[in-house]
């Protein structure tokens, strides 16, 4: 399985290479393989699902892609929807829009970019489609599991199959994330924490499938989770929490005043830390894997022999990082859920509860 996987990785990497050559052709100059650009292209979102490109004998290119729906809204031009195949892989303009460096911009009749027209892009991009697929799988898995419980399996008898795989994760989130951080009120936040955990986990796992989009390593994805965490925290704060922010207890008066801006900033830095941590971890993993694969092409450009000789080393490293990425998917889901639980716990916690925590340690 690992061998097949590495083959696939090489394959996708080659497609980057091929695609790059296409650009080089357009510029009519012999350009070098640019790993930075190739990697960023791979972890970025796209309006079509691109698998690989082949050069036909007559010099034209064949792109193996799945076109995805493009949904655009512009205050001047209104709503327009069409399939991304209309762009012909970014080479043509359609309906007054054109793809420039992965972004859709409005163009005028002559085909030049029109800065005056603002475009809001709500397209079902590669990331969005994969997100939906992953979430449908997640909902299906969990609801079918819930149905099994309703029939009594796993309640009056021993749990079976899927239940054995998912149940420990649920009890883990409940017993090691929710209960220790939220105390007796954990029941209220448990569904939210479980959803965060499985939301991140399923998308990280889907993002690791060969050819799949990098959903979790996108700043918008982590921003949504961070913003939701922020909303949940703010809506569940109590007086004690705000007292801590505006009148830090147990310190002299000048320090109290000094603490106000610091604590206020803390309100926003906590969810922001969540956003950046998840984004950086997931993106870094993908970049490292792609870097190892890119090394093959860098060495090949130096000499064919070096490229071939380095391939096994590069693939071995890529596979190693890939396995670590699987671990990271779980760890990040855990850390995000755990830190969210800690932040909520701070917001809802009363003084006695904090004393309890201190006493226990």
């Amino acid at each position: 399985m690992v061998a097949a996987l590495s083959l696939f990785l090489v394959f996708t990497a080659q497609s980057v290479f091929a695609q790059h050559e296409e650009h080089a052709e357009g510029a009519a100059t012999e350009e070098k393989f640019n790993p930075g650009e190739a990697i960023l292209h791979h972890i970025a979102d796209a309006h079509e699902w691109h698998f690989f490109s082949l050069k036909k004998s007559d010099g034209s290119e064949f792109h193996a892609t799945i076109p995805l729906p493009v949904i655009l809204y512009s205050p001047q031009r209104g709503l327009s929807t069409f399939m991304s195949s209309r762009f012909h892989h970014g080479q043509e303009a359609y309906n007054g829009y054109k793809v420039e460096h992965g972004k859709i911009v409005a163009v005028d009749a002559a085909g030049a970019p029109d800065e005056s027209v603002k475009v809001y892009d709500f397209s079902m991009t590669k990331n969005v489609v994969q997100l939906f697929i992953a979430l449908i799988v997640l909902v299906w898995l969990l609801t079918s599991m819930a149905k099994k419980y309703k029939t009594g399996q796993g309640v009056t008898s021993a749990p079976k199959g899927l239940q054995n795989a998912i149940e420990p994760v649920i009890t883990f989130v409940r017993d090691d994330v929710a209960k220790p951080n939220l105390g007796p009120k954990y029941q209220k936040f448990l569904p939210y924490l479980l959803t965060i955990f499985f939301f991140i986990l399923i998308n990280a796992i889907f993002g690791m499938l060969p050819g799949a989009a990098n959903v979790t390593g996108n700043i918008a994805f982590t921003a949504v989770l961070g913003v939701i965490a922020f909303i949940v925290i703010i809506f569940n704060t109590n007086g004690h929490y705000w007292q801590h922010i505006f009148w830090f207890p147990g310190v002299p008066l000048p320090v109290k005043i000094l603490m106000i801006p610091v604590e206020l900033m803390g309100v926003f830095t906590k969810p922001f830390a969540l956003i950046v941590r998840l984004f950086a971890n997931m993106t870094a993993g993908h970049i490292v894997i792609l870097s190892f694969i890119s090394l093959i092409f860098i060495f090949t450009e130096m000499s064919q022999v070096a490229g071939v000789a380095f391939t096994p080393v590069s693939i071995a490293f890529a596979v190693f990082i890939y396995l670590i990425e699987i671990l990271v998917a779980f760890i990040q889901a855990y850390i995000f859920a755990n830190l969210t639980a800690i932040f909520i716990g701070e917001a809802i916690g009363d003084h006695h509860y904090e004393e309890d925590i201190v006493a226990h340690h």
Partner: protein, 164 residues
């Protein structure tokens, strides 16, 4: 850099998706699953508690049984002891009785023997007296012709006396 600026459309899609998934999962997955898990855990906890209780009861029963058994054993020993004592007592009593009975019988027998002996002696004395008188009478009646004749006559008399 494009990588660090969140795309508005993607942001909105994820937000909508998360909220929908959260609501759907909360209603159709987490609620029943957590409820059932709690139920099962309570069941298991209850089963363990009742098992412990039963175990304690069993232990108590066993100790009670043992106590009963020990008591029974003690009682049996007591009974056996008493029985043995009773037996010994009965045997001894019987022996005593037999002894006294025997001595009484012996005493009676001796008395009877003595009495009979005395009676017999008296009879013998009477008989001898009578015979002496008879013999004397006969001797006196006979003409004591000679010594020889006398002696012969006495002897024949004597022979004719049958003592038994």
């Amino acid at each position: 850099m494009d990588l660090l600026t969140p795309n508005l459309g993607y942001f909105v899609w994820i937000f909508v998706a998360f909220v929908i998934v959260f609501l759907v999962l909360k209603k159709f997955a987490w609620k029943p699953i957590i409820k059932m898990l709690n139920e099962r855990e309570q069941n298991i906890a209850g089963a363990i508690a009742s098992a412990e209780k039963v175990k304690a009861e069993m232990a108590q029963l066993q100790s009670e049984n043992e106590a009963l058994l020990a008591k029974a054993r003690e009682e049996r020993a007591q009974l056996l002891k008493e029985a043995r004592e009773t037996k010994d007592k009965i045997v001894n009593e019987a022996k005593e009785q037999a002894k006294t009975e025997a001595s009484r019988i012996i005493a009676d027998a001796q008395q009877a023997i003595n009495a009979q002996k005395m009676a017999a002696l008296t009879d013998v004395k009477n008989e001898v007296g009578k015979m002496v008188i008879e013999v004397s009478e006969k001797v006196l009646k006979q003409q004591l012709a000679g010594q020889d004749k006398q002696e012969e006559y006495i002897n024949s008399l004597v022979n004719s006396i049958k003592l038994n």
